[in-house]
């Protein structure tokens, strides 16, 4: 008994010491038996297509060796790269994984549709609304809609076993509905520093290990993925609006007002974004994907 316990202890300690080699990397790297240029080339390519989930890898990245196997790299910089172990680590860590996009032509059509929708409908309406309604009131309306959708965040916090988040959301709802005059103000954040937990079912599914599968650009709704579309549908069941408003027209009207109101608070952001990028569709798709990865990972 005693002996086996000791074995167990040693085994555990051995497990703890396992990562040691990566820390004990020598300052001067060992010379590999292959020319360093090769290493440099393979280094630049990262392991992404090899180790990453193939489904999550976009078509363009599938053939990393095709183009560059024959190129002669310029050596000083590359050798410098191979000699820096920290650099390598960071390169791998930062290699963005891209989202698969098998229905890109359709997505691009809807992207264009949403783009026009913004410039031709949403922006003019929101700008008009902005000139009439003062900003404080618009922030209040935004807070109100956010307060109403507490069940979505609360339930998803619970599904993610995030008890602190669930507690925060409950407290926020109680405080803001009473002291915050039905949710128009946000004293929970301002006075008590209780932050909102933006959780949705798409993130819950992500935490449960489901990848985004592929990118979808929905007309009206915008950027999404197969997983997040499923998540969005699931969240609709937690939306009080689904149960309180029986008429579909009124429901759509309320939703439209919500969108106009929140757009009025962020006019100019989409314009800035489009000014900054070369291919707005690709940029939006990548930004959506990275942001969702971040949201799934981020937990407090």
């Amino acid at each position: 008994m005693k002996l086996s316990f000791r074995f167990f202890l040693i085994f555990t300690l051995w497990l703890i010491t396992l990562p040691t080699p990566s820390f004990a990397e020598p300052e001067t790297p060992l010379q590999p038996p292959i020319p360093s240029e090769w290493m440099a080339v393979s280094d630049e390519f990262s392991l992404e297509p090899l180790e990453g989930n193939l489904i999550q890898t976009s078509q363009t990245n599938l053939n990393p060796y095709g183009e560059s196997a024959y190129t002669v790299p310029d050596s000083p910089l590359l050798i410098a790269q191979t000699k820096d172990p920290a650099e390598k680590e960071v390169e791998f860590e930062e290699q963005p994984d891209t989202i698969a996009d098998p229905i890109e032509p359709v997505n691009r059509v809807f992207f264009h549709f949403n783009d026009r929708l913004y410039y031709w409908v949403l922006k003019p309406v929101a700008t008009g609304y902005k000139t009439v309604v003062p900003e404080d009131l618009r922030i209040g309306v935004r807070n109100f809609f956010s307060n109403v959708t507490t069940p979505v965040r609360l339930v998803n916090c619970l599904l993610q076993a995030n008890l602190k988040g669930a507690g925060n959301e409950t407290l926020r709802f109680l405080l803001n509905s009473t002291f915050g005059l039905g949710g128009f103000l946000d004293p929970a954040q301002k006075e008590w520093r209780i932050e909102k937990r933006e959780e949705d079912f798409g993130q819950t599914l992500g935490l449960w290990g489901i990848g985004p599968v592929f990118y979808i650009e929905w007309p009206f709704l915008g950027a999404s993925s197969l997983r997040d579309t499923l998540g969005y549908t699931g969240d609709l069941f937690l939306h009080p609006q689904t149960y309180l408003i029986s008429s579909i027209y009124i429901s759509l009207g309320v939703r439209f007002y919500d969108v106009v109101n929140s757009t009025s608070l962020r006019i100019g952001e989409y314009e800035d974004f489009k000014r900054a990028v070369l291919d707005p569709y690709i940029a939006k798709r990548d930004a959506y994907h990275q942001h969702r990865i971040y949201k799934v990972k981020e937990r407090k």
Binding site: A40, I282, A283, H291
Partner: protein
């Protein structure tokens, strides 16, 4: 048996102590804060507020930011694997184009939004790399989480990427550049960057 255990235990302890790297606490953050404060003071300067002074103000911001941002590193990372295939002339052409685009994007961002408050949420240093976490509170009561990725060059911690709510600026450009290069060519990318610069 006992001996093995002792050796293992000592190994563990030395390993654990070895992990606590002697960090230069606060240095990357202090340097970033200095730059940010300088930019904010230019933005707050009443002499530079008038529209006729926009150009001068932009130039001053660019000068401050130039000292903190590592444009070449950003350019290299934005091209990633395509960087190695470029001749030095192509690189010389690309780096300033990308730099001027990023400068404009940055200026747009800091001028466009009203920054109520910036709080520094901590930093983590790993060798020559450091990540500084920042929270920006906008005038519209929303917090934006930003991460500055920095790389040590000499005594300076230079920014090579900015993550806004998980979206990396350089990474985002990398995806676009890759798409353009793979689907058409590098010269097409240069062409489009030129068009973009002219638009601003």
């Amino acid at each position: 048996m006992n001996r093995t255990f002792l050796i293992q235990a000592m190994f563990c302890i030395s390993f654990i102590f070895g992990m606590v790297a002697p960090g230069f606490a606060g240095e990357p953050q202090d340097q970033l804060k200095e730059t940010t404060d300088k930019v904010l003071s230019v933005l707050a300067d009443p002499d530079l507020k008038s529209p006729s002074k926009t150009k001068e103000r932009r130039e001053r911001i660019q000068k401050i930011v130039d000292e903190r941002f590592d444009w070449e590193e950003m350019a290299r990372r934005s091209l990633a694997r395509h960087w190695t295939q470029r001749t030095s002339e192509e690189k010389k052409e690309f780096v300033p184009l990308f730099k001027s685009l990023l400068e404009k994007v940055y200026a747009d961002k800091v001028e466009g939004y009203s920054w109520n408050k910036i709080s520094y949420e901590g930093e983590s240093i790993d060798g020559d790399y450091a990540v500084i976490k920042v929270k920006i509170f906008t005038a519209k009561d929303q917090a934006i989480r930003v991460e500055y990725r920095t790389l040590k060059k000499g005594n300076l911690w230079l920014v090579y990427d900015i993550m806004v709510e998980g979206v990396g600026l350089v990474n985002n450009y990398r995806t676009q550049f890759n798409e353009i290069i793979v689907k058409s060519s590098f010269s097409e990318l240069i062409k489009r960057l030129r068009v973009k610069s002219a638009q601003y």
